[in-house]
Each structure stands twice: as structure tokens, then as C-alpha cells.
């Protein structure tokens, strides 16, 4: 079976309306179907690794969004399901996101290590 690394860069793309991140959802669905998949968060998507994010409480007009997307929790579920989750350290630091604020379950990788990470996979999908 081909090993696939999904690189997620665009963050919070339609997540309020979808109630999840479409790429994370898709990757988890592939895993549930028996796929060998992993996640790499880069760019703005490194914010998904921040543990203390609370999207609750949004009301638009008369409609309350009761189950808002929480990509951090979804990633933790993906990790529990056996999907490795990597986060680019430099993209986190340059945004001023404290490394201590990230969920400990995710693997920080340096940008210098990315070629080696890519080499572990048969395909790399940059979403």
C-alpha cells in the first residue's frame, strides 16, 4: 500500500460552515478506509496544533452553530486512530506561537528535516 503524506497549509478554510477542516476530514476518511496516511501542518495550519482553541458561541442571525469545528480535537482523534501528525517548527515560531501551547501528541519537525520526512512517503499531497 502506498504511504501518503497530506500537507495542510490553508487553515480554517470554510470550517465554520463545514464543522471540520475538509482536508483533515478527507484524510481521516482515507484512514478509516484502510489507507496509510499522515499529516504535516505548515503555514497558517500550524495553528491547528494549538491546544487551547475554543470556537464555541458563534451565532449568525437566528442560527446558532452548536458544533463548531475544532481542528485540534479532530487531529487528536486522528492521532489516536494511528495517523502521524507533524508540525513545522519554524512556521510555528515565526507566527509567535509558543511551542508550549501545542498539543504534545504532535511531532515538531524542522524545515531542514522535511526532505527526509517526504522520503518516507510514496506520495506527498500538498493541499
Amino acid at each position: 500500500m502506498k504511504k501518503i503524506l497530506c500537507v495542510v497549509e490553508t487553515a480554517y478554510r470554510g470550517t465554520q460552515e463545514e464543522q471540520d477542516d475538509a482536508v483533515l476530514w478527507f484524510t481521516h476518511a482515507l484512514k478509516n478506509g484502510g489507507g496509510d496516511v499522515a499529516i504535516l501542518l505548515r503555514g497558517n495550519a500550524v495553528n491547528y496544533a494549538v491546544a487551547a482553541q475554543d470556537p464555541a458561541g458563534l451565532v449568525i442571525g437566528k442560527f446558532s452553530i452548536e458544533h463548531p469545528a475544532n481542528p485540534n480535537k479532530d487531529l487528536l482523534k486522528m492521532k489516536q486512530a494511528g495517523i502521524p501528525v507533524h508540525v513545522v517548527r519554524e512556521d510555528t515560531e515565526e507566527r509567535g506561537i509558543s511551542l508550549n501551547s501545542l498539543s504534545k501528541e504532535f511531532q515538531l519537525v524542522s524545515s531542514r528535516e522535511l526532505p527526509g520526512l517526504f522520503a518516507q512517503y510514496d506520495q506527498v499531497w500538498h493541499w
Binding site: G14, E18, D20, A29, I60, G61, H67
Partner: protein
């Protein structure tokens, strides 16, 4: 006399934060007693399509009821209800040609058909205008 805000939105539903942001701005304006005109251009005409259906989420393991997926048609319908409650006007025009090319003509109650000339007229009459394009 109430002020009027005109907004042009272009983003299709479920694709980015732009549509959510647009609806939050509309919501905030209505709550402040400001009349709002919305010109839905290109993909944004699909925000109000009546055939949208909420779905279960097999990855989350949730049913339709548990997921309570917020379709954009419901969000927009809620904005019309809010406007009515607040006694302000929400006028929503879907670009007719954009609707035709997408076959997206079955809408919820509220929007009406129009074109760029309507948007231009609104801009002339409004206190402020905001364009939120797709990128």
C-alpha cells in the same frame, strides 16, 4: 434615519472563511439597526440555494441530528429573521447570470434576482459599501 450598508460577496458556500465573515458582518450590522443590502455575485449565489441538505458525519460518527450541520441557506434565512425582528431591511440580490450559469435558481424565501446595475445603484444610495471577493 437608519444607515445603510451595501456588501458584495463572491465566495461560494463551504469553501473559505469569507462567506462566514460576510455573514458575521451582516449580522453585526443588523443588530446595530443598520439596513443591509447584499449583492451575491458568482459563487455566492449558491449560499441561498434551497436544495442544500445537512448531512451526517461518518468520520465524527454523528447522525444528521447530532451533527446539526449549519447549511448556508439556514444561516441566511436566520439573517432575514433577525432583520425582521430588529425592524431593519435586509435586501438580498443574487446575480441573475451567475445563477443561470450554475443552475442555482431554487432559493429560499428572501433573495431576488438582479444584476451589477442594482449593486451600483445601492452603492450610490448607501452610507458605506464593502466588497468581499474570492481569492
Amino acid at each position: 434615519m437608519a444607515k445603510t450598508l451595501t456588501i458584495c460577496i463572491m465566495e461560494p458556500p463551504y469553501e473559505s472563511a469569507n462567506s462566514t465573515t460576510s455573514m458575521r458582518i451582516i449580522d453585526a450590522a443588523l443588530r446595530k439597526g443598520i439596513n443591509v443590502n447584499v449583492f451575491a455575485y458568482e459563487g455566492a449565489v449558491s449560499l441561498t440555494v434551497k436544495d442544500q441538505k445537512p448531512h451526517p458525519n461518518p468520520v465524527h460518527g454523528t447522525s444528521v441530528e447530532e451533527e446539526k450541520h449549519p447549511t448556508t441557506k439556514e444561516l441566511v434565512a436566520g439573517l432575514f429573521e433577525l432583520a425582521k425582528d430588529k425592524g431593519v431591511k435586509l435586501d438580498w440580490i443574487n446575480c441573475g447570470l451567475c445563477v443561470d450559469e450554475r443552475g442555482a435558481g431554487n432559493w429560499i424565501e428572501g433573495p431576488r434576482r438582479g444584476g451589477p446595475a442594482d449593486f451600483h445603484k445601492w452603492v450610490q444610495e448607501s452610507d458605506a459599501a464593502l466588497v468581499i471577493p474570492t481569492k
